[in-house]
Structures are given as structure tokens and as C-alpha cells.
């Protein structure tokens, strides 16, 4: 059974419907990458999974449980984390406090996870007492990523984790994604750098106009000439 299973999802903002039948499923331990043109509804899909907008049709199952329309406050306790595309840190809280907030629902000792996060993102350790709002874009992305790891999620949703980062930072982030995935975390990621992202993906989803237009393994999508022509820029 799939860890995440989305069937025929219709959702939108208020009365405006954006998603018109998205299907997406991920097995435990996979990396799934969602690509597509701007405004295709990629972010909207992640937000819908995370209970941030009203779902009119379709269903979302996680680990066999129906989580359709469940509020976003509840999802952390299902061990799902979400890193939004923007405004993804608490700017006046220090880096350390941001990570602590990530572990808000944990009442056990999470210092081990905290150390682990600092290990994956060494720059954060240096800046741990600085307000997150004063960091560079890349460092902020790390804070957001680290914050999401604090609950030791089963599934992590990343919305364009490399947006606005230099190529070097970008490949670093992809390396981290692979490393985290290897510890058993399932990853669903939206990416603009489609080629690099699909290269590390087990599954790829091409979204256009609020629907999947292609669903396949990452490698097959890369090799598919239609996809290459219309979505990967030749």
C-alpha cells in the first residue's frame, strides 16, 4: 500500500477551483518530484495535502488513513512536515528557536534530532542565536528544512527548496534531500530545476492546468521527448 495516495483531487481558493483532478501516489521511502509550468497548481497541490484549502472532490490517504480535509495543525502529529515556498521561517525567532518550534508537538527529548540537523546544516550551528530573518536566502531555506525535520517526519513536502539559490547551493540541497531520503523519509518535492530534480526522483509528476499530464518514474520522464519538449526546455 502506498504511503501517500491522492486520488482525483479537486481543490481551490474559496470559490475559485485550481486543481481539477490530481493523482499522485508515493511508496514509503521514495522521492517524488512534481514539475510543471508556473501557475500549474504545484504549490496548490502541496497546500491541499496540508489541509490549507478546501477540497471539493477526491481523497488523500496517508499510511492507510484518510487525511482529506484534516486541518494543518493536525498533520504534524501524523509526522508529515511541510516547507512552504516562501515565508517559511519565523523571522524574529533565532535559528535555534525556529528548530525548537519545529519540535513543538514533541514532548520527549529532541536534542539528538537537533544535533543531527546542525550536523546536516553546519552553517546553522554557527548562526544558532541569530534571528532567522537576518539570514541569507539559502540559510533561511536550511532553517526551514531543518525545522521540518524536527518531528522526524515520515513524509516531508518541499515546495521549491532551491528557489533563488546558486547552483552550488542547489546541488548541496539536493544532496541533503537524498541523504534525508536515505534515512527512510519519503519526500514529495516541487521543483523548477526539473532536470536535476527528476534525476534524483523515483517518481515524477508533470502538472499542467491543475491536472497531471504525465506520471512516470523520474528517469522515464527525463527520457520522454514530449515531456522534454514541452516542460523541460528541450
Amino acid at each position: 500500500m502506498s504511503l501517500l495516495d491522492i486520488k482525483d483531487l479537486h481543490a481551490g481558493y474559496g470559490a475559485m477551483s485550481i486543481l481539477k483532478g490530481v493523482n499522485l501516489s508515493l511508496e514509503a521511502g521514495e522521492i517524488g518530484v512534481i514539475v510543471g509550468p508556473n501557475g500549474a497548481g504545484k504549490s496548490t497541490t502541496l497546500k491541499a495535502i496540508f489541509g490549507m484549502l478546501n477540497i471539493t472532490e477526491g481523497s488523500i490517504h496517508f499510511d492507510g488513513e484518510d487525511i482529506t480535509g484534516i486541518g494543518s495543525e493536525q498533520l504534524a502529529s501524523h509526522r508529515i512536515s511541510f516547507v512552504p515556498q516562501e515565508n517559511n521561517v519565523f523571522p524574529t525567532l533565532s535559528v535555534h528557536e525556529n528548530l525548537e518550534m519545529g519540535a513543538y508537538i514533541r514532548r520527549d527529548d529532541f536534542s539528538r534530532v537537533m544535533d543531527h540537523v546542525y550536523e546536516i546544516f553546519p552553517p546553522l550551528k554557527e548562526k544558532r542565536h541569530q534571528p532567522a530573518g537576518e539570514l541569507s536566502g539559502g540559510q533561511r531555506q536550511m532553517v526551514a528544512f531543518g525545522r521540518a525535520l524536527m518531528i522526524e517526519p515520515k513524509l516531508i513536502l518541499l515546495d521549491e527548496p532551491t528557489a533563488g539559490l546558486s547552483p552550488m547551493f542547489m546541488s548541496q540541497i539536493f544532496d541533503r534531500v537524498i541523504a534525508i531520503n536515505q534515512t527512510g523519509v519519503t519526500v514529495a518535492m516541487v521543483e523548477q530545476n526539473a532536470k536535476q530534480a527528476l534525476a534524483i526522483a523515483h517518481k515524477g509528476f508533470v502538472l499542467a492546468g491543475g491536472q497531471n499530464s504525465y506520471t512516470d518514474t523520474g528517469q522515464n520522464l527525463l527520457n520522454n521527448p514530449d515531456v522534454a519538449k514541452s516542460f523541460l526546455g528541450g
Binding site: F50, M52, G71, S72, E73, Q74, L75, A76, S77, S81, F82, P84, N87, N88, V89, F90, P91, T92, L93, E97, E100, M101, G102, Y104, I105, R147, I151
Partner: protein
Amino acid sequence: MNDLVFFLNKGITSGLIIGSIYALGAIGLTLIFGILRFAHFAHGDLMTLGAFVTLILAAALAALGVTLPLPLAFVVMFPAMAITAVLAIGLDKMFYKPLRQAGARPVVLVMASVGVTLMLQGVIRLFAGVRSRDMFVEAPKEIYRIPIPGATRKLVVTEPQILLMLFTIVAVIALHFFLTRARLGKAMRAVSDNPDLARITGINTEHVVWATWIIGGSLACAAGTMLSMDVTLKPDLSFNILLPIFAATIVGGIGQPYGAIAGGFLVGFCETLAVFNWSIVLRPFKDELWFDLPSNMSLVPTEYKLMVPFLILIIVLIYRPTGIFKGRVL
């Protein structure tokens, strides 16, 4: 020297006292503004309500013949703070939460708080009338006259003033530790920073809202009680007290508790020094001045005291809407 003591009595002490009261009120207002994202117009009447709760408790104890080394009103202020906090949460449940859940615009919440303030005013005045009341139900307040070397005039401080200063210091330190050390305190700052992200992170917004009302309500009760102990309990202050507290909040920067404290003292001092009669302090230098010293030389006549916070507010809104501590521009 006498004139200096006069200045200390009328300028500095009053400024400190009224400043602490404004600060206590403004902390709650700024937290509510930052976390619930609306200007809480009922805060002034929440202060009055808190003072009344204190008065009722104190009168009850006095009727039972209880006497304590401290003024009764001060002692019962602590249970009164708890009661006011519960009332504040109740008001939120009844009037603000349903609107929040229906996704109302912030301005609708502001209007609801105006409705709530009228209801509080109505209830308070219905049961208590509009006349002023003395908070010292058991004995008149103690006044300390401290002799100052080289002056015939004495430094005058009353017991409630000393208690107020102590309370403010303790409250501010406690708040600081709460916001920087406690899990819930940090969560409050997180919600104030980015409510959507806080929800995503799994922070229980409901708890944060409660904490906000508990802090806001109890400090409002303390501020109202202290204000009434310093002078008398006036049930009809409402907007006259609300305006300086809003000014303090905005000067300090919305969502910034430390800013609110600074803003409170700033507004308090500006107000007292503006209505302070400077001619008394200048009297020793009468002969050196190039003008005749009038008998009353204050910057603002006392009846226009309310102008001071308003002008501060206007100037801040024009030149620095984020306030001195760089609050959020909502």
C-alpha cells in the same frame, strides 16, 4: 532644591507611575495586536473591569474584617487578575472566536471589540454607576514623606506607587523569561511572526490565543487596579485611557512587548511633563531669564492632556508607522 523635589514629585514620580500603567496595558494590547491581528478596543474597559473585580473582592474581605500588612486591594489583585483573565478568554470565545473562524476581515474584529467595549461599559456603569470610588476600603493609603537633605519640601511617595513600581518590574522580568524561555512563550512569538507557518508546524494556536488573553487580561486588571489605587476608580475612563495605550503600543511597534513598555513610559512621561508647571522649576533662575515668568507655564493645559498621546500617535504614524522598535506594519 525645593524646586527640584517638586519636580521629582510632580514630574518624575507621576511620569513613572502613569508610564507603568500605560506599559502594563500596552503589553496586552500589543500581544493581542500581534497574535490575533486586530486592535482591541475593549482593552480600556477590560482594565476598568479588572479594577472592579479587585474592588469587589477587597470590599468582601474588608466586610469579613480581614486586615493585612499590605493594602487589601493589592493583595486581592492577584486573584482578580486570574478572574479577569478568565473573563477575557470568555469574551474571546463568545465574540471574537466565531468571527475568526468565519474568516472575517480584521476590521470586523475591531468593530466587534468596539461592541464589546460598549457592553462592558454598560454593565459596569449599570451596576456601579459613574461616580468615582476609593480602592482603599479598609484604611486610607499610606503616604511616605521622605526628607531630602537641603530641602524643606519632602519627597512624597505613596504605598500603592511603590507597590506599582515593584509589580511592574517583576511583571516585565517574568514576561521576558516567559517569552524567551517557555515553550508556550516562544510559540506566542512564532504565531505573531507567521501565523500560517505556526499552524503548519503544529503549534496549537488555540493555546497561544489563550495565553495571549491570560497575559493581556491579567495585566489589564493589574493596570486598572493600580491606576485606581493611585487615584480613584473611575468607571467612565474608557476611551480616555484607551488612547494613550494605543499610542504606546504603536510607538513601541506592534507585536513588540518591549516596545510597548518603552512606549508606555514615553507616553507617560510626555504627558506628565507636558502638563507639568515648569515655572516652579524655573523660579530660582527668575532674574536671569529674559522673559517674565508666568505663574503657570505648562506646555499643554491640563484639560488638553489627551492631546499629548494623540499627537505622539499622529507623529509616529506619519514618520515611522513601524514604531521605534520596528514592529510589523500590518
